[in-house]
Symmetry: D2
Subunit: 337 residues, 4 copies
């Protein structure tokens, strides 16, 4: 497989992310926003690229200056963006985010008529799935048509080509007509997936058929609270096909559950939390870096934890992803893997 | 399982079906239409009911006189309709059909803003899935949200309750934004399905990842032509979960393919074809009648063939489904099973 | 003006109209429907054509067999249909109608995603407005975009070209997001109109700013009941521009109100009512025939009444419009104008 | 009329406006945005309030933090906001703007599924139109339903109550399905309007029936270029009802055209241009301040010019509107009215 042109192809949403510059201010008092590029698969495309992987992004942008903004950033970062279509009469996504540590990070999605959800089967057929070692898809990419069918189709092609499929659950309740439709859709795709990434809430929302209630606090805050039995959920997911599920537990580290029944805990690196937005995508970048290198689950998870820890001390996400040497040094300085 | 209240719960579309009274006339010269009730799962609900099964239908209609028309017919037929919601500001579906034997049956779907595609997870939770022996879902019910998620959710609940899941592929190309999305969606649900019903074209459209081209002749004619290798398609479907696939071959009878690799041919009963519309649903009714009774695949398929043969000699569909004794006599008169 | 190629250009909706063959049956018991062509401007195009006017219709149909049905009928009738666009991915309208004399005529509109509401400014620019003596527009054509702007634009072009503008109020409450938006829109176009046609309910719905309540009986029955002061409404309309308002009073004849303050009553011709649907369009045909011929208001209204009276004794509408000699004989036999 | 509670009620759009902090940078290189409140009627509500008028705003926001942001600002400014509905499942508008003097001000509207276009007739009935001396409506408020009908209805109520109606043409080509529909709609409302505000391009787009072509440079730049004869356009508008049209000519001052045929030129105050966005709304604020005070057209226009001149030297719009004394001093220091 060493002759494949790309290490990872990432498919899904992108946006201009506008982060409040006034940390701790209530949203209505914010006076300035810093402009970054964001969106789960987009963040991970930059994160993996900075760690040295050959990353290619399959998102879509509109024919507007915000689309230029996104593409210009990818160009600067060295992420391959030539497969990204510009969708006529559609709008590049935007997200406006407040930062009120420790636990309120209100965000407002501008995703109506958005370009990236228009990714279709033609766009997938034009992308180099068989020429990539991994394909990353995300939950939000499954929320609406035509992106949903296109995303599942991409996973089918990946399977057929021996490309590993990674699913970032990326659960955004307000992007679904019914929060329970998230689980229905996730479960319908699991048989095509090798590795699942998610938080405890996302895992429960994705796996549990019954007794699930989804609560969203602080108007569209990034994390929904989901009730239910986590271990039952983990088991349900692994029973449906994937070899591993990396459970992102924030300050408590990462647990990798395997289909074999094994479970690997990887502690986090203690840092002062400034902004949790994007930490999960930083983790994914480090974790998939290790996965691609053939590292074991523990080492991969520790690499992910390091990348996550670095990003929570910073303002934004994609623009603040650590580089390979930076992450390795960070780990070394804290006692190594 | 004898204590379940219903033999079969059928979920999906319904409509007023307007069939040309002038047989053979080009569509633009038609002067009168007969009004029947139609839609794949609705037809089968009537067909199985006439054969003696306790059938319950989960479709949706609008708050309009056409909705009254559909419900009144179900009431007369004895199909349980109390779980059918009326969707505010939505329209009961309509289909207008021309009849130009032997091979042109142009039809025009009025399914924009239609009520039955609004079936949602709440509607499914209110329906007696665990109290039915079988659940029938259909391809068109998977074509759009919220019906798609609701339909998959129903199949999940059925699985959990030990209710057999039957999938009628019911491929209507114009109901899908991209004909290839049909296959993507069908494949994503197969792991929940016990029995699949379909024509050769539908099986190919549902199963084949590559080298499939879909051609629709005669503006929205009921059957699309799909290229590709049929046996490869059958194998792909049975490899994904179902125990059996009943291939409806029209005048050439039925072949039941089993996951075990076995294959059972059941010849048809020769009749003069008047109108093929609805023959497949009549087959499904007879076939599922046998399946519910615990008959073997051959006998079930012959019963289906008999029902189909009876209906092709008649004008419409649901209104012309044979009764149990009628079908058994028909078979007996032609030499028996 | 005698060198203009057409007498009247009619703009707006068209449909296949399916009329119950069982007269008096409740809707849910109907077994057969006769298929005609319908829609206010379409009906009047046929009605005026049969009376001898050179009529051209600007509606739109889909790329479906129902569109063929509409165009084929227009061709047979000699209505000029070459300016009618076929709208891709849109559906030709359909209406299903029950007939329960004397006062219930339930109808169900299939106008979601319909072709005729897609008429746009380009279609108007391609139509021979300046080459017609009259332009007829209708209320339903103003209900949604892009047809609304296109219809007003057509009236503007007519004004600029010296083409008389006739507005048939054609109030269908369920075609408007808010019934009060009908009045707002009608009033915004009145300054471009020469002659208004409508029933008392339509006139009140169109004119009254306050104290109007709209009631729709018998689910989508053709006539809404509107409260309010009729004479105040007539005055408001005539104060906004038109020279005349022809008030269709059904069995009580017609009253033509003039901007000058004059008022002309024209008695009806007594007949036995079979089906009121389409009577208003028959009236419009006769009335505009007289208007085009330069007849006085009384004689024109009597001609309209005759055409209306003939059609209420028949089953449908466009297909049953009287021919010129037929209408004149009808009047003569009843004592003349 | 001195007993009316409000001087001016402004109806239409609102948004969070994100202005580039890097002046002159190409859009894709912008790193920070300042967050203000914007939208033509919203800007003028703040501008008139700062000049001392009792202003009430009728816009709509979503149930999101950006809606809080807008309402909080209005509260601080003393603009009456209690009639503003929050629209469920709709999004408060956002605009992202680059600043590249002297002539490029690219902006990206996030107005899909936006709350303010959902203003409806009920919202208008709840607003104090008869209790205000003036009603300001804007072109963008007429671009889509239900806001369009609601806006015209508001003008009708204002007319009936003796409230002066001011129309800011506010032409945003990308908010209309067809740029020509803007003119059709503007013309259909002119009979209800007392005073029109607009640029030469807006006046031509609104008035001219023929020979108009609309060109938008620099992807969504604020000003479209419109061809055609300006004086003919002015005459057409004044012939349709308004008593005056204030033509905003930017650096060349203002010309007020009257229905009487008179024309008043008011020179501008020379300043160095920093950012033209919002200058027109500042002009409107000053001009309407004079109009409300009963000043003559020249003095009102000069007051408007002063406010506009002050704002072009500043970064944003609503947040930078001058206060009464500030504007009067500015004029005095430059030689007075």
């Amino acid at each position: 497989m060493t002759d494949r042109a790309y290490d990872i192809l990432l498919m899904g949403r992108s946006s201009i992310d506008l982060y409040a510059n006034e940390i701790g201010a209530p949203f209505h008092e914010i006076k300035n926003f810093a402009a970054y590029v964001g969106g789960c698969p987009t963040n991970i495309s930059v994160g993996t690229r900075r760690l040295g992987l050959r990353s290619v992004l399959l998102t879509a942008v509109g024919e507007d200056p915000v689309g230029d903004f996104v593409l210009y950033f990818l160009e600067q970062e060295g992420v391959v963006h030539k497969f990204i279509p510009r969708k006529k009469d559609k709008r590049t996504s935007a997200v406006i985010l407040g930062i009120e540590p420790p636990d309120k990070f209100p965000l407002v999605f501008y995703r109506d008529n958005c370009a990236d959800i228009e990714l279709n089967i033609e766009d997938v057929l034009a992308a180099p799935i068989a020429d990539s070692h991994m394909l990353l898809i995300s939950g939000t990419g499954l929320s609406r048509e035509p992106s949903r069918s296109a995303t599942i189709f991409a996973a089918e092609l990946a399977r057929a080509a021996g490309t590993k499929v990674v699913l970032d659950l990326d659960f955004r309740p307000d992007q679904w007509p019914d929060a329970r439709a998230f689980g229905v859709t996730i479960r319908s795709v699991l048989s095509l997936v090798d590795v699942v990434l998610g938080t405890a809430d996302e895992v429960k929302a994705g796996a549990l058929l019954e007794d699930v209630s989804v609560t969203v606090e602080h108007s569209q805050v990034s994390g929904a609270r989901v009730s239910g039995d986590l271990l039952k959920a983990v088991k349900a997911i692994l029973g449906a096909g994937p070899e591993a599920l990396a459970l992102k537990r924030g300050g408590e580290g990462t647990t990798v559950y395997l289909a074999s029944g094994d479970m690997i805990d990887a502690a986090t690196f203690p840092v002062e939390v400034f902004n949790v937005l994007g930490a999960g995508d930083a983790f994914a970048s480090g974790f998939l870096y290790g996965y691609r290198k053939g590292w074991d689950w523990y080492r991969s998870a520790r690499m992910g934890n390091a990348c996550g820890a670095i990003v929570v001390t910073r303002h934004g996400c994609a623009n603040f992803m650590p580089y390979e040497q930076e992450a390795l040094t960070f780990i070394e300085e804290r006692g190594g893997f």
